[in-house]
Symmetry: D2
Subunit: 214 residues, 4 copies
């Protein structure tokens, strides 16, 4: 999230003084400023509700926000013995995160907790020397066919983030219960109240991200 004003570049949010108004002789000197969000879907499933929820979140995000959606595809199980040989899939994820202003995770719930595959990706990321998650703001959403909409997984995920020093937004929380009724077979969100709620979530999240400039 970079604000460029003619000859000066500075961080926009959290800056108590803000940009000094330019003389108004030239044309608009403000470039459009994008909040870069990297979304990670915790499910590998084709037609995953959580990947679909990320797509829906992207579609309702504020205009000044771009969302890149990553997959866990190809990330092997973390083995400390092989740590020095970082898989290409992990390296790619680290690179995408390097310029992210905020991270958005959509998590299913497997066995009342975070899916092993998603936790595994986080474990890999936690071992990268660049600490790609450290200090970054995080939004968590989730969808599940059950009644609690992945809530149990989300609270476990929040605990991991204490250690990783991610700043998890408190509210609103998005737990899409009975997900099979809210997305169609093509992964389109067909439940308007959920779409509106996701829109509120994304607006709040972009604001939250603004509190933690890179």
């Amino acid at each position: 999230m970079i604000v460029a004003t003619g000859t000066s570049i500075h961080k926009a949010l959290g800056d108590p003084h803000g940009p000094v108004a330019n003389d108004a002789t030239g044309p608009s000197l403000y470039l459009s400023v994008k909040t870069r969000i990297v979304g990670i879907s915790g499910s590998l499933r084709t037609g995953s509700y959580n990947t679909a929820a990320l797509s829906a979140a992207k579609s309702v995000a504020p205009a000044d926000c771009e969302v890149e959606i990553l997959t866990l595809k190809g990330i092997p199980v973390y083995d400390p013995d092989l740590e020095s040989d970082q898989p290409e899939s992990v390296r790619a994820m680290v690179q995408s995160l390097a310029n992210a202003d905020g991270v958005l995770i959509a998590t299913p719930e497997y066995n009342y907790s975070v899916p092993g595959g998603l936790k595994n990706a986080i474990d890999w990321l936690s071992r990268d020397a660049s600490k790609p998650l450290d200090g970054r703001p995080l939004g968590i959403i989730g969808a599940s066919p059950g009644m609690l909409g992945s809530g149990r997984a989300q609270y476990h995920l929040r605990q991991s983030m204490v250690f990783l020093n991610m700043h998890v937004m408190n509210k609103p929380e998005v737990m899409i219960a009975s997900a099979h009724e809210k997305f169609d077979a093509n992964g389109n969100l067909i439940h308007e109240p959920t779409r509106e709620f996701l829109g509120k979530f994304m607006s709040a999240f972009v604001e939250w991200v603004g509190r933690f400039p890179r």
Copy 2:
């Protein structure tokens, strides 16, 4: 766990073969009764403290107890799309569990929770049609170089077991903190109080397992 008393032999539930009936010519005879424990190490690391803790637990287990230690080696990340094609490594684990009276998990703590790889193995097991964990008694131990000895991971693991309907023993809890000081370079437990405590744990666990006959 096969119990034979007097001249009768009660076949353990779920035992596909069962003991062959003895001829009843002799006097009251007791077959040796073994409690079968399957131990799962949550770490893939060569020289893992948790694998070492399982070995130590095995060495101090009551005489009427046998412990088989399994590894997560070779279990790929669970992908619902590939579920019908169960990996051989998962199938082997399911088979070992089929005759287990109790399960013993030794978990490290990664990022304040269960390692992704261990959770992933549990996710695979939960999808097997035979429900190899359902209704089985579970003991949890853990070791970590940190101060809490994997405690945070253990409580998360306990929550998963509510869904999987495993009966987790409450006490004693084994959290081996500062694990690097308690095992030598060859994975031998060199801390006597920990060994004694593990012995108490194993005795209590075998008793706990006895409450949930197959």
Copy 3:
């Protein structure tokens, strides 16, 4: 839970065949056998959904089961300095628990966890020298106007029970969401599926209690 059969006394549950009928010379030698459940409502509110849920659970309990419902009324905040002066309200609760075969807690959710007042009662009980909760089977239910039906409170409560060595039944879990739609103004359960589910819960719970004879 004691079964007295004329000259013999034995534990009833867990025995698949039950006692062999005594010679029938005398009058009926079987005393009625009741599983004694003590229910604790985590809410002090008049018209509490959780007190109502306990009443409903009592009404659908198996015939061989009696449920006494306790309130937290009058239990002051625990102060270690005053511990030696146990309040009468706590003493009464300890006495009710002394003969309980199982304990059933109905918990609301306050601020994503166990209500302070309920946790406080548990803290008091944990300090009684008789350890009235130790080793007892526990069932947890809950009701809340929200979407998760007190789930978050229930998982926190489960963690406390590891320390207190209560054996918490895994399943079924009863989380009565949107409780205001399921009870009428007089605290009557008016939602049939919930009633049926409570009935299944109580049957499972009495069976669970039978695994942990006093």
Copy 4:
């Protein structure tokens, strides 16, 4: 936390008195800026380690920070029926919090969770119309005679704060294990590494508080 820059003075939100406006005769002037922290001890015990830990935290706090320590004394168990009749003890706590820039809770661990009395105070505060906790930054510390130093309680407390929308600092975490060895009989912290660590914690916390201006 009152920030004055240049000749203007920004009154802190929620400050009933605010700074008196200076005459603007001089050049750019900075008023002394104090970060106001309200500390809440989760224990009522005379000689509580947690109250002692708060005192120690106060003594090592940065110079531009003032810490007021509150007690739970006199707060009765929350009863929804009596909610309209807010106890004086709760009202006093609400008033202290009204001007707080940040909140610091020191929690013991009772039965693997937050003490009922502390949770109860939080429940009361959550019902006050002014929402005294909403959006405020929170630091959590804890002390216990056990090995985990109140860690289990702290993670439960963090979950409540998701609902209450408090911004809990991630790190460093202060879990004072074996507290009986680290404080003397008069509540003085006698363990230098803990004092140094508390100093780091307080510096980090004041910085964290600065991210969430009133």
